[in-house]
């Protein structure tokens, strides 16, 4: 359970840490996050040397490798601006695990400083930007899957739905067992493919049964998993990162 976080006033500038999955597979989501922030009059700095937060190696037990990857990110945010991460999973890694990964090393203070400035995108939009949204889209019914990292590691079960609630034409339905994991879990999906498949199968069935033709999520791992399952079955249920959804409907 994440500790209660005190939110700063709206800053002039922020850093965007795009995450490796967005960089390679869902770059539009990263760009849309940037557009949402810029529309609020916030200058977005995208450090060009960013790569990956190191989480895949970390959860696999390869902490030496994870630490080096993380260390390569630590120096990218020299000014005291907030660091916005459009992923609960990577945000959770940076906020919760960086301090412990560097504990006792020369970079510990820097790791703590970075961790303290990390905000998940929807968290920042709700609690710092108090984001106003004017819905220009057609009316539709959607579901949201909040990632386990956002929900539990970062304590952000409500920020995604809070943003969607501001879209007047959108009805958000809750699928059965909404808080249950979709089965992605990074390398879990590869190491235990059958169990993971059973989990994502149940998740897609629940979303469909809720009557949603579309689902949004704030994590691209879950998106890749759930949308990949829908596509594999030839089902007409579309998945989208919440940043893209919000931008698309309000621009």
């Amino acid at each position: 359970m994440a500790a209660v976080k005190l939110y700063p006033p709206r800053p002039e500038k922020v850093y965007l840490f795009g995450t490796c999955l967005i960089d390679m597979f869902y770059p539009e989501a990263g760009l849309d996050a940037m557009r949402l922030l810029e529309r609020e009059g916030i200058e977005v700095i995208f450090p060009d040397d960013q790569t990956c937060c190191g989480q895949p190696a970390y959860t696999s037990g390869y902490h030496d490798e994870a630490r080096e990857v993380a260390r390569a990110q630590l120096g990218l945010f020299p000014e005291p601006w907030p660091i916005i991460v459009p992923s609960g999973s990577c945000g959770g890694m940076m906020r919760a695990h960086y301090p412990q990964l560097f504990a006792g090393s020369v970079d510990e203070a820097l790791a703590r400083d970075v961790a303290g400035r990390v905000f998940e995108l929807t968290e920042f939009l709700v609690h710092v930007c108090h984001l106003p949204l004017k819905d220009r889209g057609e009316s539709e019914t959607i579901a949201m899957h909040t990632s386990c990292s956002a929900r539990r590691e970062m304590g952000l079960a409500d920020t995604g739905p809070a943003l969607l609630a501001k879209l007047g034409q959108v009805e958000l339905v809750e699928q059965a067992r909404a808080s249950e994991c979709c089965g992605f879990g990074g390398t879990f999906a590869v190491r235990h493919p059958e169990v993971s498949a059973a989990m994502v199968e149940d998740k897609t069935q629940a979303i469909e049964a809720a009557g949603a033709k579309r689902f949004v999520t704030s994590d691209c791992g879950c998106l890749m998993n759930i949308a990949g399952r829908f596509a594999h079955q030839g089902k007409d249920v579309q998945g989208e990162h919440i940043a893209s959804y919000l931008w698309r409907r309000t621009s």
Binding site: E65, R177, E180, F188, G228, H232
Partner: protein, 480 residues
Amino acid sequence: MSAVQDAVHTYTPREFHRQAHDALGNPQIRDNFRRAMDGLMDKRRGVFSDWDLETLRELGANIRLRALAKLPDLLEQLEANCQANGIRVHWASDGDEACRIIGEICQSHDARAVIKGKSMVSEEMHLNAHLEQAGIEALESDLGEYLVQLNEQTPSHIIMPAIHLNTDEISEIMHTRTGTERTRDVDYMTAAARQQLRERFMAADVGVSGVNFAVAETGTLCLVENEGNGRMTTTVPPVHIAVTGIEKVVEQLRDVPPLYALLTRSATGQHVTTYFNMISGPRKPDEHDGPREVHLVLVDNGRSSIYQDDELLDTLRCIRCGACMNHCPVYTRVGGHTYGTTYPGPIGSILMPHMLGLEETKDLPTASSLCGACGEVCPVKIPIPDLLVRLRKESVGQGRGNVPGAGVKRSAKEVAAWKGFEWLATHPAAWRRTTALAGKLQKLLPSSIGPWTDYRSAPKPAKASLHALVKRHRRGEGES
């Protein structure tokens, strides 16, 4: 009746993948667990609704941590107070020694029949098999344990041992093994079991039980139960042997109410169990019932090793409520037997590697999506996901080497892969070239990538990476 066994079916953690495959393909198992776990999660949510749960969990964690901080002193105090109360105390370094001690006590009374209350520690040390080898019959009296024993199985859940079986299957087992008429009437089956077991309670020479909390301050053994078999086991036979892990001790009597409140609510969503049975000695000269002799067997079996390490220590806070398995999306789908260990689910995956070694249990720490549901509901706030990661770290040889079998999963191929990842992710220019190239080559990339694409479509790298899109965006070029 797939779950009704004709012969002993043994499960092993080495075969996790095969066992998971079998369980996933068994609709009966899937359905039994899904419904049971949904019910348990709902009940737990309801029963905590009017509590300041976080404060209570904080207190629970704090009480357990305090007990562990003083563990050696408390064990000595427990021993002294138990002895002063007339309870004989024995110490066992491992399961075999504990079995030997219990066997010897039984033999000293010429015992032929042992009746058992529910005890996971006795499962951990395979007590029943040991006693049977010595010609002593050990009969389980908790209804779930009894059914599982009739079916020559092991428990699939630490609180609800027969949760993998449905009513029809249980009816078939009772019919085959005890001649009970086939029925779907649960009351009828319960009454039949009551009748069958009452004779056995009267005939038993020794009762063996577990312990939920052992109170150092007063030399008191606490047992939590609903059925009354625990009270029977600890009251009817002339000799009572309680067996427990050394970590179950708490400092004071006042530590018990908060832990009991957390245990019953977390386990089964009950405000309280039917019985809370606190035993502080054998029958006194003027008393008319209760055992003439009470023994306490304190079992280490790997616990003192776990105790050495500041991080792993948290494992020993566990009060065995089973909430972690009830809320685990993996356990819910594969069931308890798939793990092949005495303790299944998340707690088993962080505990069993210490008892069996990582070689035997190498698939358990990875059998989790790290979704955090277990840690979220743990009544004593064990950071189970962090401990799973720690064991993964030990498996690949990057831990402190404090777990038997550390390094067993280290392979040159995997190390090379992660070194490659590290190199790429620490060389930003190369990273950018790689993501750009992946986008250009997307048509050439395989649409089938191992197990992922057996169930899902393959993700396609975008034509332009976020790095590239941001550059265009900055130049004010047309986007997407």
